[in-house]
């Protein structure tokens, strides 16, 4: 699965995207955030407040408890500040 990071999530993790093989038990964004947080201190720091992280599955906003399904890409980022 292609995982993308933006803004300070990207800065804390230290890269804009990566390919990660997700275990079968990761079926929602909440699962994904918990799984990634265990990959190391940079991930732990990026996702220390998982509730504020916004998630887009295949470029569409989703809630943390939605099924990921057979997504091509998942993006994780802070609340948006455009406009």
């Amino acid at each position: 699965m292609k995982i993308l990071y933006f803004a300070w999530v990207r800065e804390r993790i230290g890269m804009p995207e990566e390919e990660i093989a997700l275990p079968a038990e990761v079926s929602t964004p909440a699962d994904l955030l918990a799984f990634l947080s265990k990959r190391g201190p940079e991930y732990e720091s990026a996702f220390e407040r998982p509730e504020i992280i916004r998630v887009a599955v295949d470029q569409t906003h989703v809630d943390h408890d939605m099924p990921i399904g057979d997504a091509r890409e998942i993006a994780l980022f802070p609340p948006m500040t455009g406009g």
Binding site: F6, R10, A75
Partner: protein
């Protein structure tokens, strides 16, 4: 209704974009434009750097514009959002709405801005006057509240 959405590093020309939407369209009675500019925050900022999610930014703004088109009787919508490092005084975002009637044009432009602020995948980072990079701008509760007023039961 015509919708134009562009995400670009380059500046835009509101007058040219308005002309594009209105020329030869004598049914249009009202044109509202909103231009968002980079502020200097009382001299504190050297620049704002705008990061975005390519692909999703265009798609999400298009979804917001289509939603506006279902809510108000509009003739046209143009949204242009810049990215990259922008100096104080620079244009950041342009929203134009055209309609027969002024209320539709005003409300749709406000709706578009409220949703751009809270749903379009852009992030702003401050660059300080002393040349160092500052903080990422924090999302404001005020913007969420502004967006919520458009939600129907």
């Amino acid at each position: 209704m015509s919708i134009t959405v562009r995400i670009q590093p380059d500046d835009f020309d509101p007058a040219a974009e308005v002309a594009q939407l209105t020329e030869g369209r004598p049914e249009i009675g009202a044109v509202v434009t909103f231009t968002g500019l980079c502020r200097d925050e009382e001299g504190r900022l050297a620049a704002l750097e705008l990061e975005h999610y390519p692909g999703m930014a265009e798609a999400e703004i298009l979804r917001i514009a289509e939603e506006a088109g279902t809510r108000w009787p509009l003739e046209g919508i143009t949204v242009i959002h810049r990215h990259g490092k922008l100096a104080p005084g620079a244009n950041i975002v342009l929203v134009i709405t055209t309609s027969s009637h002024r209320t539709a044009a005003f409300e749709a432009a406000e709706f578009l801005m409220d949703y751009l602020k809270t749903r379009a995948p852009f992030w702003k980072k401050e660059w300080l006057a002393d040349g160092t990079s500052g903080e990422w701008v924090e999302a404001r509760d005020h913007d969420d509240t502004a967006a919520e007023r458009w939600q129907t039961a």
